[in-house]
Subunit: 346 residues, 2 copies
DNA sequence: AGCGCATAGTTAAGCGTTTAACGGAGCTTG
DNA sequence: CAAGCTCCGTTAAACGCTTAACTATGCGCT
């Protein structure tokens, strides 16, 4: 592979001149500039990024951090949508994307994550930071890395979709349809700060409507389809009077729907089900899912754009997106509820 | 941030000695070694990877390449599963994962991809290489980067799940259930080499059973839920006698099922539907989908393991995984078919 | 003519590592 | 006791780039 020296020799100039041509520094004669460009062409020269990084301190790499807690976070299609948004902006800026998935546990964060932070390999960092356990972003900020947080940990630069409002919208929808016997499928409080906000939003709206949110039956799942299915079965076998199910994410909602249907319940005639996320697939479930769109792609884009502003020396303001309610066919007016026999299948 | 020099000074030795301690070179006295380790501890020293990369030529970064053709390939949950497999192995080896999504078009490959290949930033590369248009892996091999191909382009190191056999398994299943009026939902031939293999496998089995595969009605989608839905509607309105639908991926199958149900058809009583991929969500659709498990996570793991073998100087043999048929509730015995009125909804 | 200034190009230091080459100290050995 | 080990540590070059500091040239002014 050709290096600057080769190019310089071929063009009959010094290394510094070549470097100036490449970096578009002024005060290079047009003729020289052409000679250099030709030499670059002929040799197929490409800069060595490691050398450039060492010398300039800029790597053109942004780390995207998805903590790995109980499971790979990026398995969630929602996270994927965020990644898609980040990728599009990074790509447009010709930056590379380094996917980091530090293992989180009670003992703290994976040691090799710190190595990465201090390696000089990354110019900036975008982190999904929703786990109460530990903040992957704080670790980065402490090391003076420009960091954008997607989530609820405190940070000078952050983006999020208002989960409180999202929860509120969802609950308003259900209450508006006349539902009062509502089951909740959530995750353990220690799992996710965003989910906790959603629950708070729901509680608030309930209070406004004279419903005691705390009294509603709640089961904790693990974000997965299977978790939702199990939770739904559990809820309806214990509380057959329920006319609606709120799930804190779409995957659990989809799992719930499928299980309830297997148990002979009709959605939404017998039970209304809502999710949260608006995954692509949620539009094509049977029935299509009523849910909250948290604009994940935009979330990712915003995060990346903020990071670039910061890298350009500016101080972008935190951004909070407004969630939107997407009403589809998994919810319907609450009917005077008939007791329903649950035919347990497993 | 502390560097080798600082550590050396603190430990009262030379830079070279510190470096030797770090790289576990023999012939360092135990006492010195301890002094150095202490100094490292006290200063919180972490190696600068850019410098290390420049000096040693090793970056400890592996690029995972998902070409971006019509759309971001990594949006597909299947690709995500592959990514999960790759990530787990990379993480175990303490390697970093750089996600590269070069834009592919008729004009060839995105220029910045070549910059990456020759940047000296990556030690090796794992590429999903299933697009006939162009091979992202060949470009890498031409530049002497250790490269593992997931897919059908020729390469010294490659992994794949036997798509021919997968297609065959799927068709055998349907024919075995007595289906003869089968519709096919595929993608344009120019889109994906793996899919083409699946179709060949199906055709072969059809021939063995005296069915003319070429004569079966076929519609081309775009891998998406929506594409599957539209294709299914199109197929059944043109060919109401169909008793089964083969889709070349799960997403289209799920979209198809949903649309057919909307049109008043029962799955599998009226129409059997099969997919390909065995996505996590396919187990939780209504009804759960009969499909082919192509062991995506294992695929990713194998690719990463092969790459590490190659980096260690070995020459791993190509690997072909055997697909497995997963029978769920979206397929049933073909019944004497009643003509079904399609109520078009859109 | 002599000064200042804009333009064009070069020299050389430095980024933080790795590593080959070297040398000294303390052994064994014939 | 000199030669030849082994063991431990140092010196210095190299990786390929960026960039501050410098030199040189030509031009317009007074």
């Amino acid at each position: 592979m050709a290096n600057l020296q080769d190019v310089a020799k071929r063009a009959g100039v010094s290394i510094a001149t070549v470097s100036k041509v490449i970096s578009n520094t002024p005060y290079v004669a047009e003729a020289t500039r052409q000679k250099v460009l030709d030499a670059i062409q002929e040799l197929g020269y490409r800069p060595n990024l490691a050398a450039r990084a060492l010398s300039s301190g800029k790597t053109h790499i942004v780390a995207v951090v998805f903590p790995y807690v109980y499971d790979a976070l990026f398995k969630d299609p929602l996270v994927l949508a965020i990644l898609e948004g980040v990728e599009s902006v990074l790509n447009a800026h010709k930056y590379n994307l380094l996917l980091s998935t530090p293992r989180l546990s009670e003992d703290g964060i994976d040691e090799s994550y710190f190595n990465l932070l201090e390696s000089g390999y990354v110019d900036g960092l975008i982190a999904i930071d929703s786990v109460p356990l530990a903040s992957v972003a704080q670790a980065a900020q402490a090391r003076k890395l420009p960091t954008v947080v997607i989530g609820y940990h405190e940070a000078p630069m952050s983006v999020r979709c208002d989960d409180f409002q999202g929860g509120a919208l969802l609950m308003e929808h259900l209450l508006g349809l006349g539902h009062r016997q509502i089951g909740v499928i959530s995750v353990p409080k220690s799992m996710n700060l965003a989910v906790n906000q959603r629950l708070r939003g729901m509680a608030q709206v309930c209070t406004e409507h004279g419903v005691d949110f705390e009294a509603l039956p709640i089961v904790e799942g693990d974000f997965s389809n299977r978790g939702g299915a199990q939770a739904a079965e559990h809820l309806l076998s214990q509380h057959p009077q329920l006319s609606a199910l709120v799930c804190v994410n779409d995957r659990m909602a989809l799992g719930a729907i499928q299980r309830l249907q297997q148990l002979g319940l009709r959605i939404p005639e017998d039970v209304s089900v809502v999710g949260y996320d608006n995954l692509a697939q949620s539009e094509f479930s049977g029935p299509p899912l009523t849910t909250i769109n948290q604009h994940a792609v935009t979330l990712g884009q915003s995060a990346a754009e903020m990071l670039f502003l910061a890298l350009a020396g500016q101080q972008p303001a935190p951004r909070v997106l407004a969630p939107t309610l997407v009403v589809r066919q998994s919810t319907a007016q609450a009917r005077p509820h008939l007791a329903i026999e649950l035919t347990r299948k497993e």
